[in-house]
Symmetry: C2
Subunit: 274 residues, 2 copies
Amino acid sequence: MDTEKEFLSEYRIEDYDRPSVTTDVAAFTIRTEDRTSYRKNPENKLLLLLIRRGRHPFKDMWALPGGFLQRGETVEECALREIQEETNIRPASIMPVGIFSQPGRDPRGWIISNAYASIISGESVRQKANDDAADAQWFTVSFTCGADGRHHLTLTCNDIRLEAVLAAEATRFSRTSFRILENSGLAFDHAAIIAAALSALRAEAGRFAAIFDFLPETFTLTALQKVQETIMNVTVLPANFRRMISRYVEETDEFVRGEGHRPARLYRRKRTPE
Amino acid sequence: MDTEKEFLSEYRIEDYDRPSVTTDVAAFTIRTEDRTSYRKNPENKLLLLLIRRGRHPFKDMWALPGGFLQRGETVEECALREIQEETNIRPASIMPVGIFSQPGRDPRGWIISNAYASIISGESVRQKANDDAADAQWFTVSFTCGADGRHHLTLTCNDIRLEAVLAAEATRFSRTSFRILENSGLAFDHAAIIAAALSALRAEAGRFAAIFDFLPETFTLTALQKVQETIMNVTVLPANFRRMISRYVEETDEFVRGEGHRPARLYRRKRTPE
DNA sequence: CAAATAGTGTCTCTAAGACAATATCAC
DNA sequence: GTGATATTGTCTTAGAGACACTATTTG
């Protein structure tokens, strides 16, 4: 067995023990609530896509869309494919969140999951018909940190309410991981994946990185600000937001008219900041 | 097949096509060069551990330590185990860098790799005997970005010199990924993994997160500053570094004496910043 | 004392936060 | 005009960068 060619011809990958590999995707979007007055700007809500499991294990519980990695595709392509199969929309972007490989996390056996967060523009979601009978639903996200350091994740959709309590694990690096303390209604370790995805999403939004993908190509600065505020769960003064975002956006000549107040200029993302 | 128990008893995980899963670990340490004068402080070098492959594929080329995920361990444990097998040292910390799953990346077949960066305290490396005949060697790292945006990675160890040129891929998020343009001497896609690991390491060092793990429990502020400067490839004024690091460290009562100049106070990392 | 590093004080400048003021539309 | 948002200007303050200066040790 001298040459690489000879080695490879005798190599039997099946001889080795190996796990199944899945991707799970936390797909986020922002829904613009109906305006309460003709001239008032609408409110935003952060939404997460969940699937009601029709099969064992965790039958009838809610889970992140995901599936097994197929031969010939990368893990990113697998994540994109899963979202597209579920929503018929191709996400604007996809971001790795972590690898979940704790033995016993899946009762079917040795299965590790590559978790991703993805962002779907609110425009796209609005365009597709959203039949309520389907097993896929968009849940409103609430994710807060209590005084005791315990994080509370609440997902609501009409009458359905899923709750989980998590502890942030001490990591020596900037990414945070979470341990599930309480969990109701979410399958597998998906509560921990969702918490990690939200944490990563907030970190990105803080650097003005992920927020553009929630909006169409052109947008008003107020809309962009609302996106960031919705994700980060904070409020900023418009004057300061405009100053901070200015290096990431560029003007267009378009304006939004007919809103009952001064028309807002449309901006687009600048290709090269600075 | 009504209950979950029944479902699981009939589930055959072997029926499904699945990849082999490996971890590859970029293990970094910092070596303190011998001082040129009795009173001058020593210089630092960033080192990366590479293994000369004794077997196909990529026989005789240099590669990151790594290996196949074993049943019953998490991916993190696998990465820690691989480093420990190779160096006999358990890293202070380990950080996910990315998943490399491009079809064809491994000629043996469908093999995906979870890449990690890990930091090994320079103290530990110094303590262990480093037999030069071994297949594992610490390479000096140089990673710079040219004016054309092409990144140059150079790894040197005595007479061995490995070089690669990479392009930073446009990601919509803060983590950067790299595409290999030229490569000499590095196995698989490890040049891209190393570049991604260095990029992640620099991002962490910029937030004062990863630098402590290169040093022993207590350290001088100058040593800490040199670590950061070595990783980030920049220099800062001592006064400013001290101000910025002050919230992350706390004083001890110990001093380093006998250095031919004013003794330096030893500090330790503060558990809770702020 | 000379050489070298350890450590402090402070000036400047930039950027973030707060807030006031003006602009512009639909009704 | 009224109510709402859009947009700009500026005062204040916190923090980063630059630099001067003092402190302390060994040979």
